[in-house]
Symmetry: C2
Subunit: 349 residues, 2 copies
DNA sequence: CTGAAAGCGCTTACAG
DNA sequence: CTGAAAGCGCTTACAG
């Protein structure tokens, strides 16, 4: 016995209409080699029968699955939802399905995840690499989203420029001493951001960087960062390299009785879900995820289109840097009813 | 011209080894109809050539794609990462790939998303339905993850019981007046949670519910909820129906100079990424996502396995309720270095 | 404008 | 234990 799908296929439509399979195929795909009337009749009948083309059949014939892979370092990373949503959106607009793969753990798992996707026959993949991994040859086109400083990168937010935006904003508020708070000294994203902040300081300003990962190397994760002490030392601005750290800083300061933004300022990065919701809401810098995803997916689609480019094609060309956008919230004054402060996606089931 | 994949196929392995395609297929799939020696030789040669089986060919022949779909109401929902990760994990352990689809917007988009997945030939799908949607007949097995009160549901956390855990915890702390904070009166998840809280109160305790969606119906999203006023009225505990609302409450209270947990308590639901990181960290209730995902995926796999069950099979049987686990943090005392307070996934790129 | 035919890569009864 | 053959559903040159 050979297993078959539940629905009708081209052959059934063809016989029931007394035409050939090829004609049905042509009519449905709109290749235009069929007369208008017949196209009409065929389409109608196909719809009536609830015809759903078999991806397997098509894929086998064309060599294209119509699916791309999305490899993420860690789906639990709070940045993931936005990336995934943007990629899914861009991909489905381009007619692709999205297969996800989590490379949790080390670089080896990332390689595994990539291989699994290749085995599933993806036409290409978008990879957001783990820190300090290089994507070596993969058996399909790959678009890498990382920092501009990553070799082989395809597109990314301009984290450096984002950092400058923060610095300029803090300068405008009159801050002199800034504590940059990162949680991973190895991260090129965080280093770019920190570098941008430093580069954007005015001569009179000075910054110091607190790397939480080093602070906590010997345990004690989740303990206070000693920010009240820093305030006594004269720091008036806390520029976290991610909104999660900003949130951590904000609540620690508040708990210590330090008023934000009256006494000190706190800024973040990424405009994550809670940024507009907390009191005071966070000033942050947002990536244009839709644009980044759009560029990555269309670069991928272009490469897939050129059928010559099958094997191990890194979609590089020229790295595109997408500007980040400053979102000022802490100094936005009193809340006025009628003004939408929440981001659109803000709701919980 | 007929397009072909880059790699070798069964035929090439067969010719180069002087055996038949069928034998290669049997050897590689371990169906055991081939002599041990030959199996060995074939496997070796296949590995040498870097043979990757064609999913398309296999799918066309077997009628199974080896891929399941995951339909989410809104990927931007902060609960998503955990669900997606758990499903991806369970699915890949069971040998399935996961195709994602976001049903953002209304119920109509959800139907579209489901159809897209069916068109891509998924063998089944896990659906986390939008509020108040019923999953009607789909052309493949479906496992629904929602509340126990949803008809046709397959598995879910026991939100009601989770609510009781919160109530018992607050009772133990001696609270008498509790403000429940929800953000969506329509959500059955939130209603179950609120119901559980009320059911768990001791006679002397009383609760009132604040629905943010109603409060903000006329605009003003993101404005303070007036919690300081509630404290004056005598409320000493704020039980949010999601960690996002808990965070909102916490920061609003802190900003008003009310000390948490000394003056009042704040609790949440879901143990989202920030819960252990903020000061004070949040007491919350966690779903066992791995278990829920495992049950959903294996129920799905079972149904797919029975080849009779192709069309529109809702995987129901008996609804499984997975207990939620209380995580007490706010009263956990001073931070001791060396103790891991952060959840494992807590890191940002 | 329409159709007959080949073939994508695989698996599975069936025959030897 | 091994192989020849059929067929899953589709698309695409090619012929008419």
């Amino acid at each position: 016995m050979t297993s078959s799908r539940p629905g009708p296929n081209l052959s059934r439509i063809a016989t029931s209409l007394g035409v050939s399979i090829a004609t049905v195929s042509n009519a449905l795909s709109g290749k235009g080699r069929v007369s208008g009337q017949l196209v009409e009749r065929i389409r109608e009948h196909a719809a009536e029968l609830g015809y759903v083309p078999s991806q397997a059949g098509r894929a086998l014939r064309t060599g294209r699955s119509g699916v791309i892979g999305l490899v993420l370092p860690d789906i639990a990373n709070p940045l993931f939802p936005k990336i995934a949503q943007a990629i899914e959106f861009a991909a489905s607009a381009a007619g692709y399905g999205v297969l996800i793969a989590d490379s949790r753990g080390d670089a080896a798992t990332q390689v595994e995840a990539i291989n699994r996707l290749v085995e599933r026959g993806v036409d290409g993949m978008v990879v957001i690499p783990r820190r300090a991994t290089r994507i070596s040859s993969v058996a399909c086109p790959v678009a890498v989203i990382d920092t501009p400083s990553t070799p082989g990168n395809t597109v990314s937010a301009d984290h450096w420029q984002g950092g400058r935006e923060i610095a300029v904003h803090l300068a405008g508020l009159g801050h002199q001493r800034i504590l940059i708070i990162g949680n991973n000294r190895e991260s090129s994203v965080q280093n770019d951001r920190a570098g941008g902040i430093r580069a954007g300081l005015r001569p009179a300003m000075q910054a110091e960087t607190l790397w939480i990962d080093e602070l906590e190397r010997d345990g004690g994760s989740g303990c206070p960062l000693g920010l009240a002490e820093r305030v006594k030392q004269g720091f008036t601005a806390f520029a976290a390299l991610s909104d999660l750290q900003a949130l951590r800083a904000l609540t620690e300061l508040q708990q210590a009785g330090i008023n934000v933004p009256a006494d000190v300022s706190v800024t973040g990065f990424d405009d994550l879900i809670w940024s507009p919701v907390v009191t005071p809401s966070l000033t942050t810098v947002r990536m244009d995820m839709d644009r980044i995803a759009g560029i990555a997916v269309s670069a991928l689609a272009d490469t897939i289109g050129k059928s010559s480019a099958r094997e191990g094609m890194l979609v590089t060309a020229e790295i595109e840097r997408v500007a980040m956008q400053l979102i000022v919230r802490q100094s936005s004054g009193p809340c006025e009813p009628g003004i939408k402060n929440l981001r659109d996606g803000e709701h919980v089931r």
